[in-house]
Amino acid sequence: MTNPIEDIHASEVILITGSNTTENHPVLSAYVKRAVEFKGAKLIVVDPRKITMTKHAALWLRPKLGTDVAWINGFLHVILKEKLHAEKYCAERTVGLEEVAELVKKYTPEYVEEISGIPAADLVAAARMYASAPAASILYCMGITQHACGTDNVKSLANLAMLCGNLGVRGGGVNPLRGQNNVQGACDMGGLPNVYTGYQPVSKEDVRKKFEEAWGRPLSPNNGLTVTQMFPLAHEKKIKALYIVGENPMVSDPDLTHAKHCLEALDFLVVQDIFLTETAKLADVVLPSACFAEKDGTFSNTERKVQRVRKAVTPPGEAKDDWWILAQVATRMGYAMDYAGPEQIMEEIGRVTPSYCGINFSRIEREGIHWPCPNTDHPGTPCLHVDKFTCGLGVFHAIEWTPPAETPDAEYPLYLTTGRVLYQYHTGTMTMKSEGLNEKAPECFVEVAQADAERLGVADGEKVRVASRRGEITARAKVGGMVEAGTVFLPFHFAEAAANTLTNTALDPVSKIPEFKVCAVRMEKAA
């Protein structure tokens, strides 16, 4: 997030898109609800599903799946045409507005209605509302990023925020909500194929030199592969070994049947986890690790705040901290790693990472610190881009809308979209161990619109078969108003009816995120 969570209380308009906030980020959603109900903020929800947040919204726009760039360009069109944008801000702090202005000329409200199904008048009203606020915040989640055009979606939202001068102000910002607790930290720590810690590129000579010196080993100058590239290469026998720490791609990966073949094709698979997950079952060696309550360290939350994790209980049996296991393997491969513990590792992180330089365990004993924090006297940076953009001028990107990689046809006439439910978490390895949570969300279901249900002769609670070009699953139909006719929704937590058996592996060309949010399926009553 560019802005801290607490800033939501200072927003006058909040735009939520592609985030089922009450289910996936419940405590943050309470900030939004309080801002709306008690502090006079106005809420715009743009979402194909009738999510709970729509109850609090002043305006709810319901676009067709995969039309985000189109409606955002429509917002830009209206705001520029009516001169509601922050002219001075754009002139002083940004570049590239002319190209964008040229491109969005054709995204008239009527044209956008044709693509997205959002009534032209609603689009105009929402664009005016967003532009009218001295501080407007945008919140988004996987509904924006999990598309073949996910990177374009995110850049388009940044265009919108910049156009109205909403970056670098209290109550504003473009705020991605991270799904898993430490996604932010995994990225910050260089758990990415192209960067070391703090987003320092592996391809940059001086950066690499610095790390070679710090680590005492020659390092590769080539960008590595993303997970979505590694899997197919494993299938082709070009990747021989994978070492997987605490992840369960056998439920979370798109096109699961294919993922299984990929992992089985490996010469050697190591999985380090707290449970024998679907992925661990395939491993040659499984290493038992400690969970969050059994170790010390830090997580970085969605607002870039580095907070302490503390050991409360001892791990079961012989389970060990993940860092200890990795350090042991390293040492046994001839590279000595003899850390005394997480505190010492954090000191090393600070030495090689400018944005984490001022963060250490004693400073965050009581409360966390937002990075960038360049030195130990620095208070941290809750709000980014305050007087100027971190990288100089803010850059506008002119982006055309492109349709999703797979659209419905005669054989697969329905759109499928996927997501999470409140009572389960990701692949369910943790939440499904709680009886109470399972009682609330015991099994997979598929949301179907009334009209589609009638056409297919399916009643609420009946079993249906959902099939795509990649596979099929059975689940109970939940008939109602959550989705529009022509679209069905599946939660992806459940291994025995894994939604990702159906989803498409088409990747965003930049982020390599698969298109989980849209694919084509057909549905029928299960015998």
């Binding site: 607790n181 005492g216 990747i239 024998l276 290493l287 042991q328 393997v329 709680s434 698969p514």
Partner: protein
């Protein structure tokens, strides 16, 4: 002097900020005024009258939580009049329900009969489930009162246990309204409200249904807000007493909000989770953060390294497993080069562990093939 934002608090000049209540000003200056119904972050209701103070010139005692500080006010927080009033208030509350902790006397008739009656309703011989963790009990001790002078009010409700997380026992409810405020003004779930059934006031879920069928999303905010034993966690009731646990502050391991938790630990087991009163959550949690901790000590946890032989996993010691991994990876590196290997690190593990994982990939295996599954 007159116009300055200063009050005389127990004889001491005390500055206040415009818009602050007497309670706010006192708390900021470390003067303790007891409260029961006041809930931080919600509008004051003035329902319980425990926080009353004496303000010179005012005809009656005023509720500190809902009276704004004004320049020149002379306030006494523990004067004889205040103490007398608080005693009376607490006494009435104690007498109002099944408050069967030791501070409660009998019900004016017979202590033993009272206890036995409550125990029958609770279906246990233990004292009140929140013994030792109750605001009312604390205040009763502080002001040395019991409810003996009044007969026990006999509006009694059956204990409601139908939902998986929360037990509701309105026989112990003091009608402070905090639960409804927590639900409506803090979490804004609007699942419960002050309602009535027949002649009695009562906290109700949507049209007085049991909690399991209403709008409730089981965030547990109401339970954490309840100052007495009327709302309790099902898994916690009668399992431990507060002085037996060690509390550990940590960060939630589910979503990216990063709520601050207080884990309550007894005998190396997490027995309860509460929200810590600090950013970003200020005490709030959701159902996963508050109730989703069973996985930690679950019997299915992996406890030993496993090695696959003839398609089956068998248990192994650490040395054997680690040596095997090191040997295999070294062999593959030698035969096919570093880029034939990859590491998937995790959005679930700590920063320090992610750091070590990518350093392992880059410095030890020698490849930048390192990623995590967050894009999935």
């Amino acid at each position: 002097m007159e116009k300055k934002n200063i009050i005389l608090l127990n004889g001491k000049e005390t500055a206040f900020e415009p818009g602050e209540t007497i309670l706010d000003a006192a708390r900021r200056n470390h003067v303790d005024i007891p409260t029961l119904c006041h809930l931080k972050g919600a509008a004051s209701t003035g329902a319980c009258r425990v926080c009353v103070v004496e303000v010179e010139g005012a005809g009656t005692l005023l509720a500190a939580c809902s009276t704004f500080a004004a320049p020149g006010m002379v306030v006494r927080t523990e004067s004889p009049k205040v103490v007398q009033s608080r005693k009376a208030t607490i006494e009435l509350l104690l007498a109002s329900g099944n408050h069967n902790c030791a501070v409660r006397g009998g019900d004016g008739v017979d202590w033993t009969a009272f206890q036995l009656g409550v125990q029958a309703m609770d279906k246990t011989e233990a004292l009140c489930p929140v013994w030792g963790d109750c605001r009312l009990q604390e205040l009763a001790y502080k002001y040395q009162v019991n409810g003996e002078r009044y007969p026990k009010n006999d509006t009694c409700y059956p204990v409601e246990e139908v939902n998986p997380f929360i037990v509701r026992d309105f026989s112990r409810c003091i009608l402070c309204g905090r639960c409804a405020q927590a639900c409506n003004q803090i979490q804004v779930n609007n699942a419960i409200s002050f309602g009535s059934r027949g002649a009695e006031h009562k906290i109700i879920a949507d049209g007085d249904f049991p909690l399991a069928t209403a709008e409730c999303v089981f965030c547990g905010e109401c339970v954490q807000a309840c100052p007495v034993g009327a709302l309790t966690e099902k898994k916690v009731r009668y399992r431990h007493r507060p002085w037996e646990v060690k509390k550990v502050r940590t960060t939630c391991s589910y979503c990216g909000v990063g709520c601050q938790l207080e884990l309550h630990v007894k005998d190396n087991t997490i027995v309860k989770v509460q929200g810590a009163d600090i950013a970003p959550n200020h005490g709030s949690l959701c159902v996963k953060g508050r109730f989703g901790y069973d996985f930690v000590g679950h019997p299915d946890r992996l406890t030993k390294p496993l090695i696959k032989e003839n398609g089956k996993h068998r248990e192994a010691g650490w040395d054997e497993a680690l040596d095997l991994v090191a040997k295999k990876l070294s062999e593959i590196k030698a035969a096919h080069g570093p880029d034939s290997m990859g590491v998937l690190t995790s959005a679930r593990i700590t920063n320090e562990e992610n750091y070590v994982a990518q350093k392992f990939a880059r410095a030890v295996l020698g490849t930048n093939n390192v990623d995590h599954c967050a894009r999935l």
